[in-house]
């Protein structure tokens, strides 16, 4: 059956070389369009998630601000100031809160080898590294609980800072730098990461020391901002509300006052991406599919020509006892084979393009990727198009009157 179909296909292709070539080209083009567009969509989505996660892993960042609603006899416009102790005391009362860290920031001068570098320094707790995806280069580590407890003078450097200060190829871990005259041991360097958004500075330009050390050295009491992470992204709104109400009681501001401290919920961005990328992928898929449909119309057209050319043959076969199902199947199989050939060629081309995609563009649009989902969708569309394209010519072949057909 399949062998017969392949032989027949071979003969048809020979008798209609140019037409078949153009038809298959249409299918190849359509397949390339669908797979590549979807592949770029997939790559772009992954890149966006990756760079967004560069800032943090489903976190909320919060800054204390000014009250906007009078409360318990206190006027509006009052500055809300938060200490690390405030955070620690409300923390057990907030359900679904997984991690939290205060952040004290300042611009310091760092001295190494008699050279001075201005550096943005943050005093944070060890949980901060997990939330903000601060991953040390192997051989180093991020701040830990002992650093916090003992107010150790240790520093974790952004990769750009490390490069500026120590130069390329030198491992800064174990070296000592001076901050405002105090010696600090370098315990780790940030692994270079992609980051699309930031506050203060980009992580590559920052340095982190234990929050306790920061406070001891500067005498600062009030934090600059704090970062927290709900147990799941879905809970972020509830956790924020719960935190706001707990803090409002302690710091005496109206729980409805959104300006007492402002929150940047990064998870909202993720949710937006999800919707946006779905719409974007759908759009790309539809554009590609339409191209593929045009190719399918070409296939249907050529199969009509083939049926016309082989009317006599169909008549003879019917006279010899071929049922309409056999005739229908013959043309459907042939159409599906043509479609499969076009589809396979298109797939191969798309995979090739993805393989040679220049790495220099990856930072902007991500790496196009023919995922199993992309492949599945394309195969599905091709299959439907093949069936539809083959169905009508095949049905008209199967409906031929053998007496009339044989006279052709």
């Amino acid at each position: 059956m399949l062998r017969d179909a392949l032989l027949q296909l071979h003969r048809d292709l020979k008798s209609q070389k140019l037409r078949t070539l153009l038809t298959v080209f249409g299918l190849v083009w359509g397949t390339v369009a669908v797979t590549l567009l979807l592949a770029f969509g997939t790559g772009l989505k992954k890149q966006l998630i990756k760079t967004t996660a560069g800032l943090g892993d489903r976190i909320c960042i919060s800054w204390p601000g000014l009250t906007s609603i009078p409360y318990q006899g206190l006027g509006k416009g009052r500055r809300i100031r938060i200490t690390d102790e405030d955070l620690q005391s409300v923390r057990p009362r907030v359900d679904g809160l997984k991690r939290m860290s205060s952040e004290y920031s300042d611009g310091w001068k760092m001295v190494y080898n008699l050279r001075t570098f201005p550096v943005d320094v943050s005093g944070v707790s060890p949980e901060f590294g997990d939330m903000r995806n601060l991953i040390p280069v192997p051989g180093g580590r991020f701040l830990n609980d002992l650093d916090m407890r003992d107010q150790r003078r240790v520093v974790f450097l952004g990769n750009k800072v490390a490069e500026d200060v120590f130069g390329k190829g030198t491992d800064p871990v174990g070296k000592t730098v001076l901050f405002n005259g105090s010696p600090f041991l370098v315990i780790g360097v940030l692994t270079a990461k992609q980051q699309d958004s930031s506050y203060n500075s980009r992580d590559s330009d920052l340095s982190w020391i234990p929050g306790t050390t920061f406070r001891a050295l500067t005498g600062r009491k009030y934090l600059s901002n704090f970062v927290y992470q709900p147990a799941s992204a879905l809970e972020s709104k509830a956790v924020t509300e719960s935190l706001r109400s707990a803090l409002s009681r302690r710091l005496k501001f109206d729980p409805e006052d959104k300006e007492a401290f402002s929150v940047w919920d990064v998870t909202e961005q993720f949710q937006f991406f999800e919707v946006f990328m779905l719409a974007f992928t759908l759009f790309l898929g539809i554009v590609g599919s339409l191209t593929l449909v045009v190719g399918g119309i070409g296939v249907s057209n050529i199969m009509n020509v083939v049926v016309d050319e082989r009317t006599k043959e169909i008549g003879i076969k019917m006279a010899l006892g071929a049922k309409s199902g056999a005739i229908l199947r013959q043309f459907l199989v042939e159409t599906l084979i043509v479609t499969a050939i076009g589809g396979l060629a298109g797939f191969a081309i798309s995979l090739g393009i993805c393989a040679v995609f220049p790495a220099s563009l990856e930072e902007y649009v991500g790496r196009p990727e023919v995922s199993p989902v992309v492949a599945g969708i394309t195969v599905g569309i091709l299959g439907i198009i093949g069936l539809l394209a083959g169905w009508f010519p095949a049905r008209s072949a199967a409906r031929l009157d053998p007496v009339v057909a044989m006279k052709m």
Partner: protein
Amino acid sequence: MSSRPEKNPLPTGRAIIEMDGIRKVYDTGKVKVEALKGVDLRIEKGEFVAIVGPSGSGKSTLMNLLGCLDTPSGGDYFIGGEKVAGLTRDALAEVRNRRVGFVFQAFNLLPQISAFENVEMPLVFGGVPPKVRRAKAAELLGKVGLGDRMDHKPTELSGGQMQRVAIARALAMDPDIVLADEPTGNLDTTSGTDIMGVFLDLWKQGSTLVVITHDMVLARRASRIVEIRDGRIVSDRAAEQAA
């Protein structure tokens, strides 16, 4: 062929072909053409019937109806005791496959495949297993004297050889009846005589043959001559020179 098992046993008292008042009307929009105006025809197993008549007499229509390629507008038709009128397209295809072997004036072989594959074709549609059908195709091609030409394409064969392939194909499913429509019409005299010889051999071996022709030389070799004119049978007689 005498050892052939009886595939379609004929009920006692029935003829292979039984037509009662068969009518065929072609409806071409405004004009209705009545091609057959009530044909009664009975053909017994083992007969060699020639159907003759001028062109336009309804010969071809009768041939199409006999071969179940077309359905009558009225009347009853039984082939091998099986009622044919009112069958669906697919059921008719099956009847053709099982009971009728066609030999056409224009040979109607499939040009792209070999003589062997052409003979195999009805067996494929009949669902015969590959081993059996290959043996059968080879046997039949040997029988029509083309055992050494099995792999030739029809275009590589002479007219006479092509018609021999067509005859082998017609016999592939051991049909109740072989229907030949002007089988010598596209052949020169020598080949024509040759093909006639093949038919006579088949008849002697017990096949039931119906040949439609306007070649009286061929018709006279048959056992019975049915003459049709203007959609009616006008004469039905035993041929004088039956071989």
